[in-house]
Symmetry: C2
């Protein structure tokens, strides 16, 4: 958590909620929250389009809407599991939340301006701006056209059934399901169809996997991960059956299984997948554990997705600390 | 912490005390605390000696004593930093304590029995016993003769100026400065001079570094390590100068320096070494830090000893989880 710009992890008691209450959501901002008058806010659509336009909120509300349940994780979540510690927000594991987003497919918005065939990326620019090492800049990220035209990529107006508040990117926020949160540009005020790849600060200097001996790779899909929601870390429980539960997600495919290791060693027990199955949301899992003795126990959880991606034991280090998804553990005191 | 046998980390608020109060010390026991009547307790000295003898506490108290300040760390301390997690006690970082020990040099005790020239190891057996995968056994460990005859290796009678209590190995405990705690056999009731290497359960099946592709190595000297004592993990501090302090030790050489990284990245700032310099005890270090902004910060500390040993960023994994000494970090909320 950093006060200005404001950054905060999900409220610990909200990790077990399928839909994260707005007040409990994680927040990651690069600059101060911009002041926007929703009545006057215009979304500009420019660049490689047939007819550059500006759309107000009323114009957008007149278009057909979609509602999706989407889990969003910060690309730097769990950065503190990396050693040596890369620069950036020192997130533990709580920079992840799930919301119900209602909005207009970005494809429908672009269609109003007539996307040209030579466009290869769609740049989304937020109203927030400030200093970067490359100079004064707006927060801005581009999407490949194929992802921009995915019917699940939204220009969102509402979260959890209410207009998006300024803290969460309102009045307009891009929602890019399956991708780490940097793609879901908040306070979006400008879309530009590009005929050459965008190379702005937040596209090329940040949100890239920088690894020794490899070409830098863009950060995109959320890596597979499982999180404990109960017991809470360090919780004390009575000797007897304990319901162990949590959430698991992957940006690449549905969750295939979650396993739990109930002590040191390599015995992994498959948990039950329970609760709603939403294409872009985390999946709840649970398991009943009978502790063998009083004292401190370590539990670990590990998710595998339907594409065969599985969490590593040790996180894959990269210079900017993105995509850390090593198996997590929780300590429980059995009394 | 496990209730039976009892295992507990040092009390968190005692990490900053140069001498750990007895009640706050870490405890690691393999079996239940044996019942010993100090008035009847005899230390047997047998094996490759000229004249096997039994010494009572009064006999031992009649011999010249030494007092040493000794830091003892469990070989499995910080095991939870290893991934995948090896079996064994799930220690965080608090299985370490420092005490003032008064006792008779083991060399003087052995001299009473007349150590033979063909002796190569001294086996120390505790009065505690129980089941092991290799059958019923006492806790027992051997020392090479050269270490056994080191004038700082003690048969201790007192800790912190008082007779050793049963919880801490009383009435008689071996103290082997510089080595991990398994060597400091509690409730020692028998010493045997051996002419062949000891291969009991706690010598060959436990307390060995088992690493893929390497011959197993015995666990001996404590690896270099620094610990934070203040701020406590997760502590909230006011914006302004913050005194950051901790303890550092190595079983191989005196502490040469402790460095602190005040944020992500690789800038390490040297801390001041303060407080008593005792050959076998941890060294206090401190540094004044002025947080640059309100919010969550990560501090890391790293010790280097006079032999050039330095803590690694990532712990060296081994199958039984010993000697984990990676750089530790602490999260601090600046308000």
């Amino acid at each position: 958590m950093r006060e200005a710009p404001r950054n905060a992890e999900i409220a610990p008691d909200a990790v077990g909620s399928f839909i994260t209450p707005a007040a409990a959501r994680f927040v990651r901002t690069n600059f101060a929250v911009p002041r926007i008058d929703p009545r006057r806010h215009r979304l500009e659509i420019a660049g490689a389009v047939e007819r550059p336009i500006h759309l107000g909120l009323a114009d957008l509300r007149a278009l057909p809407r979609r509602t999706l349940v989407v889990t969003t994780e910060c690309a730097g979540n769990q950065r503190t599991s990396l050693s040596p510690l890369p620069p950036g927000e020192p997130w533990l594991g709580g920079a992840v939340s799930t919301g119900t987003f209602t909005g207009i497919p970005l494809a429908a918005v672009l269609e109003r301006a007539g996307l040209r065939k030579d466009a290869i990326e769609i740049l989304a620019e937020g109203a927030d701006a400030g200093k970067t090492p490359s100079g004064e800049a707006h927060f801005a990220r581009s999407l490949p056209v194929v992802k921009a035209l995915d019917p699940d990529t939204l220009v969102a107006l509402e979260m959890n059934g209410k207009p998006l508040t300024p803290a969460h990117g309102g009045p307009l926020r891009l929602i890019v399901p399956g991708w780490y949160g940097m793609a879901s540009v908040k306070w979006v005020s400008r879309l530009e169809a590009l005929t050459a790849p965008f190379a702005g600060y937040f596209q090329s200097e940040r949100y890239v996997f920088v690894e020794s001996g490899r070409t830098a790779q863009p950060v995109r899909e959320m890596r597979v991960k499982a999180l404990f929601s109960s017991p809470a870390p360090g919780a004390a429980v009575e000797l007897g059956p304990v319901l162990v539960s949590g959430m698991a997600w992957s940006g690449s495919a549905p969750i295939a299984k979650v396993e739990v290791a109930l002590a040191g060693g390599s015995e992994w027990i498959e948990a039950r997948l329970t609760g709603p199955e939403e294409k872009h949301a985390w999946r709840r899992w649970e398991l009943t554990w009978i502790p063998p003795w009083r004292g401190r126990h370590v539990l670990r959880c590990r998710a595998t997705d339907a594409s065969g991606n599985v969490q590593p034991d040790v996180p894959r280090w990269n210079a900017l600390g993105y995509g850390a998804n090593a198996v997590q553990s929780v300590l429980v005191d059995v009394r």
